[in-house]
Symmetry: C2
Subunit: 151 residues, 2 copies
């Protein structure tokens, strides 16, 4: 499919790195799977494009932004839509999931003691998460979230 070399750098968690690992594995693409602890990352952070992980080196070129990486790899391994409209349907799901993830991450990053955090936690548990999960369930009611096929 391709003779490119891939080197993924991320933390020792799943989070934003795992979908990239899945896509590379799905496509049977060999890759270096570098997993850093936070101290290791802090030591080399300044050399990265936007001071954030994951990074994917493709043939030596350092690329970033997890969703952009996944969309590109989706195209490489044949999981993109067959036209712009199908890609649109996929992107809508991806961005809706990112919205939910961002809301949870925003809560997670607030200091434990803050009152805002406690309020956000309640809103997440009682409103936001059930709302999104309900919508995703409806989207997937026929087996796939977009275009009636794997993407």
């Amino acid at each position: 499919m391709t003779s490119s070399t891939y080197k993924l750098t991320y933390f020792t968690v799943m989070a934003l790195g795992e979908p990239i690992r899945w896509l590379l594995s799905y496509g049977g693409l060999q890759f270096q799977d570098i997993r850093l602890c936070h101290e290791e990352w802090e030591a080399q952070k300044n050399k990265s494009p936007f001071g954030a992980l994951p990074l994917l080196e493709i043939d030596g070129k350092v690329m970033h932004q997890s969703v952009a990486i996944c969309r590109y790899l989706g195209a490489v391994v044949g999981l993109s839509g067959k036209n712009a409209w199908e890609n649109f349907e996929i992107d809508i799901v991806v961005d809706s999931i990112s919205d939910l993830r961002t809301k949870i991450a925003t809560y997670n990053k607030l200091p434990n003691s803050s009152q805002t955090r406690a309020q956000l936690r309640l809103a997440l548990l009682n409103e936001t998460i059930p709302f999104y999960l309900n919508r995703f369930e409806k989207m997937a009611s026929e087996g796939y979230v977009a275009n009636g096929k794997l993407s």
Copy 2:
């Protein structure tokens, strides 16, 4: 270019709606430009896919997610990359801008009185915003942020 009908629904501000208006205008595509005040939106929010604006109706089908809408319209009006790699380069810029926007929006949504808000404001003004603007300036140093051309 297309005989589709477009109906954009958004608030009476620029924000996430304006890039959609730009793309439709750039492509010479006629569209209904519905601008709601918050009270009008609250009254019809429940009928929308994820309770959020903007929405773009294309030939009567209600689509959502502002970035997904822009990526699709980019393809329709001929502003996408010429291959998956060029689209990857564009997506990296788009998602980096979204990251900055999200950080500012997170701050904006916190209650005025919260201590977290005051701390975030300082971090944004002194670190985050200068950091991103500096990176974007470097990316655009040769005139365009991606692929050496308009996208």
